[in-house]
Symmetry: C2
């Protein structure tokens, strides 16, 4: 049996399962709150939060997608919903007419502000409250390493589009 596919030992399994269960429970709790408090899905919240975090409150569609959504049409769909609710606005980019700049509206920023305290409370209750100060730093460090490793591996954003040669 090859090294890559040899069974996992108890420690490896434990780390994998614990990671998946913790993140799944946390995500579920967070989604429940966001839906109840702001009528937002987690993806929608991530998009708004990313915009709120950006220096100008605006990003190109492609940059907004990165890591949050795995297909272009998926982002267009979500952006359409947020746009209809007046939480974002879209306009062609000045420098590149193909691109669309997405901006957080005042209403969008207000909704993020409205939802954030409860969001934080959920994260605290489920995740942070059970961590000693030292454990938090350790978790942060180890997961940060893993993240960097993952980011270095595959293509990051949406898959490159299949080239359109005749078939």
């Amino acid at each position: 049996m090859s090294r890559e596919t040899a069974p996992l030992d108890a420690g490896q399994l434990g780390a994998y399962f614990a990671l998946m269960e913790v993140s799944s429970l946390l995500q579920h709790a967070v989604e429940e709150h966001l839906r109840a408090d702001g009528d937002l899905s987690y993806v929608q919240f991530q998009l708004l939060a990313r915009l709120a975090d950006s220096p100008e409150g605006r990003l190109r569609m492609t940059d907004l997608a990165d890591g949050v959504v795995y297909s272009r049409s998926g982002l267009t769909y979500q952006a359409g919903l947020l746009d209809r609710r007046g939480l974002i606005s879209r306009a062609p980019a000045a420098d590149d007419e193909r691109s669309v700049m997405v901006s957080l509206t005042d209403a969008g920023r207000a909704l993020v502000a409205q939802v954030l305290p409860g969001h934080i409370a959920v994260v605290r209750r489920l995740l942070l409250d059970s961590l000693e100060k030292g454990d938090l730093a350790i978790l942060s460090g180890v997961l940060g390493t893993v993240r960097d490793h993952m980011r270095a591996l595959p293509p990051r954003s949406a898959k490159p589009r299949a080239s359109r040669r005749s078939r």
Copy 2:
């Protein structure tokens, strides 16, 4: 501002974001593999794996659901798909006529065996390869603590059904 909703410091944010990004990337990669290699969703794989792991290869619907699925109808739907493909079989429980025992068929066990090596390879490549031996143990330990804490908090399985009083 209350203690529960005070902003998170950099370390707390870092741990939260790293956890969500790592688990999201890992889950996406794993789902891609399972779909390609066994035409299974992650939920379906979890259900089969849980059955394969159980002592008799069979579980009641309710016990099978726990932690994997958040609604009863969702499990019935997935079980229906797996049943149609001949990967599981369902029969009324001997001791309680209300319950349904779900059993892994030979084909189901074979599919798990077929898919597992690739599954492990993905987990290794994305998660385990970047962890020193010591880090693995630490991650396992910390996340285990968090998981126990989470499990102690909310109701575990599907929400208790609303009681059917007149309204």
